[in-house]
Subunit: 430 residues, 2 copies
Amino acid sequence: MTAPIRPSRPRQPEEPARQESLRTLNLELVFRHILAAGQPISRTELATVTGLTRPTIGRIVEELLAGQLITETGIARDGRAGRPRVGLTMSRTGPAGLGLDIRADGLAACIVDLTGNVRHLAFEPAAYTGGNATAVLADVARMARMAVDAASGEQLTVVTATLAVPGPVHAGVVRTAPGLGWRDVDAGALLRGFTLHLNLPVAVDNEANLAALGELYASVNALDSFVYVSGGLGIGAGIVLDGRLMRGARGWSGELGHVTVHPDGKPCPCGSRGCLHTYASLEAILSANPVPEGASPDAAILARAEAGDAATLAALDTAGTALGVALSDMVNILDIDTVLLGGSFSLLSSWLAANARTEIDQRVLTAAWAPVTIRPALLGPDAAVIGAALTSIDQIRQHPIAWLAQQPQGSGQPLGADGMIELPEDTAIR
Amino acid sequence: MTAPIRPSRPRQPEEPARQESLRTLNLELVFRHILAAGQPISRTELATVTGLTRPTIGRIVEELLAGQLITETGIARDGRAGRPRVGLTMSRTGPAGLGLDIRADGLAACIVDLTGNVRHLAFEPAAYTGGNATAVLADVARMARMAVDAASGEQLTVVTATLAVPGPVHAGVVRTAPGLGWRDVDAGALLRGFTLHLNLPVAVDNEANLAALGELYASVNALDSFVYVSGGLGIGAGIVLDGRLMRGARGWSGELGHVTVHPDGKPCPCGSRGCLHTYASLEAILSANPVPEGASPDAAILARAEAGDAATLAALDTAGTALGVALSDMVNILDIDTVLLGGSFSLLSSWLAANARTEIDQRVLTAAWAPVTIRPALLGPDAAVIGAALTSIDQIRQHPIAWLAQQPQGSGQPLGADGMIELPEDTAIR
C-alpha cells in the first residue's frame, strides 16, 4: 500500500563547512569557552578544552584582546597542579548593551557590560498611563542619552538598545498596551528618530519576555524552564523552555492576563469576559477601595494587607485563586514546573501563592507526581530593564565576530592611545 | 553602580570544527539537499547548491548509493537549459520506520520508507479500554512482527519502532492513560521484551504529539506552527512551533483536556473540576444517551447529529463552546494561529468549529488583528501511527551517517548479492 506523504520537511540545508569559516567558528568557540568558564581561564586550559593548538589559541586570544572582548586578569589555576598562568575573562570595557523600560510608574534605563554586570541603572518616577506616546518616547530617548553618556564615561560603547513595553509588539510597533492606553504605536521608529545622533540600533520587545530573559540570565541555580509572571496594571507572562524564550509564532505568547478564569465573569477591557485580568490586576485587587491618583497601587495593597484590611485580604484571596486557575491552564498546556511571580506579584506573593498552589495541585494533570514550584522572581521590578540590556549585549556574546568586524582597520593591533584599551593587569607571569 | 548578575547562560560550547568531521558534515549536507529537493537532483546541481567540488559530490553519492539511502532514478533537468542528467532521490528500499498506535478502538501499525511514503498500514479493531497492559502490548508486538515481515518483503529494514499512547510518557513509562485505564505502565520495557527477537530499539511517545508530527510531515502547504487537537475518549494536543514539536520541560505538554473551562464545573476523572474533558470528550457528548458496549462512539454521534437529534446537537454546541474557551487559553498562551481538529474531532468539526470560533474571536487578545484558523486535520485517525513511523525513520533522515556506520564492512561497496541493493535504473546518461 502506498499513500502519498510529503517527504520530511525540507530543512534549510546549511552552508558547507568550508575552510574559510573555520576561523570564525574557532574564534567563537574560544570566546564561548571563556564566557562559559565563569572564572578566569588560561590559554593552556583553552587549548585543552577546545582541542585547538596553542598557536591558534594564541592568535585568537590576541584578536579578542585587541577587540576589547576579553581581558587578561590575575592568575588562573588550571584544574591540575601546575604553575599559575595568566587568566582570561570577559572585558569590563568595550561593547555594552542598553535596556529601556516604560513602566506604568516611570521610566528605567540600564547598561550591562560583556560580563553581564549592571554598570548603570536609572529610574525616573512618573505617571505614564494614558500618556501621549510621542512625549513618552522623547523622555525615553533622554534616558537613553544619559545612559550612553554614563557608559562612555566607563569606556563602554553601547552597541544596541532594547525597549521593553507592556503589550504585544510586531516589528517595533506596539499593537496594544492597555496599561499605557497605546494602540499601534511605532515605538521603534519614534525612538530611532529621537536618538538619531546616537546612531543606535533599536529593538522593541514585550516586557514580560524581557523580564523572563533577565531572570534566565540572573538565575543562580541554572533554572532552564520556567514561566515568569509579570503582575501589575496588566498581567503578562514570559515563557522560558530549555533555556530559550518561547515567543510564539508571532512573538505574542504569554498573554496570561487574558486567559479565561470564568467564562461568564466580568467584562474585561480587552472585550472578553472573566479574564484573569478582571480578578488579579492591581486595579481589580484595589477595586473595593481605589488608591488616590499618583499613589503606588502595589504599595497601597501591601500596606493594607499587612494592616489586616479584610476587603484587601479577600481580594487577594480571589486574585490568588484566579491566578492558580490560569496558571494551571498554562502548566497543563506548556508542561513547565516552575512559576516565578514577578513585578508587583513578587511583592504580593505571600498573599497570592497559597491559593494559587491549591488550584494548581488540583488542576494540573501531572502535579500528582511532579509538583509545581511557585516563588517570587529574583530581580523584582528591574527584571525587564535588566533583561532588555542583557538582550542588547547578548548579540555580541553570541556573535563576537560582528563586533570585531566593526572595529577600526588593523583590529589585530591594540586600538592605540584613545583610552579604550584595557591594559592587562598582570603580564609578568605566563 | 555594579550589581552581580551571572554572565549569560553558559551554552554548551561546541566541539571545534576539525578536519575529520568535515566528511560527516558534507555527507549529511549532500543528503539533506537530496531530501529537500523533493524531486530528482543531479550530481552537477548538487555541486552547485552545496559549493562542494564535483569529485567530493561523486564520492559522497557513491557512499549514499551503496548504503541504500538514495537511488538513481530517471533524469533530472537542471534549472538551466543543458543536457539531461541522472537524477538522485531518496531510496524506496533500505531503512524504514515502524509506527504503532494503541487506540481505544484497536491497534494500528505503519511502515514508512525514507521517501516518507507509507508502505504498510494495518488496523485491528478491538476494545482496549480497561484492558490488561501486558496483553495489549503482546498484541502490539504481534502487529509489529507482521509489519517487520511486510517491510522485509519489500526490501526494507526497520530501524526503530515508535509506539503512540494516549497519555503522558516518561522514559517509556506511561504515567497515566485514563482512556486505557493505565497508570505507570512501562510500555517500552514490555514491548522490548515481546520483540526481543526483532532486536528493535523501541520509543514510546504521546499520541497527540506523534499525530502533530504526522500532520507536520504531511502538510502540503508547509504549515510551520499549529496546534493539533486529538479528540476522542480523551482530549490531547500536540504543539508545533517553527516546524518543531514543543514537548514541554518533561514531554507532558498539550494536556488540553484538563484545561479549566469552568472552575466550578463537573468533576473530572483526573480529580479536578470543569476540565474541557467534562464537556467535550466523546463520553461527555454522548452522556444523555450512551452507546451500547462495543459500538463506535464517534460514528454514533455523527449519525445522531446528521439525523438532527436535538440532545446530540445541544451536546455538540456545548462541546464546541467549551473547546473554544480552552483553545482561546491555548492561543493566548502560545500565540499559534492555526488549530487542526484531529481524531474524532476531525469527523465532528462541522458541528464543533463554529462555536469554538465564536469564543476564540472574543477571547484571544490578538484575534482582532490576527484571526485564528480552525480546520479539520489531514490524516484523520491514522495521524498518530503515521507520525510514529515518520518519527522512527526521521532519525536516519537527520543522521544518515548512523545508518551507514551500521552497514557491513566495506559499505563503500554495493552490498552484494543479498537482494538489498537497488540497481540504478538508468546509468547510460551522466
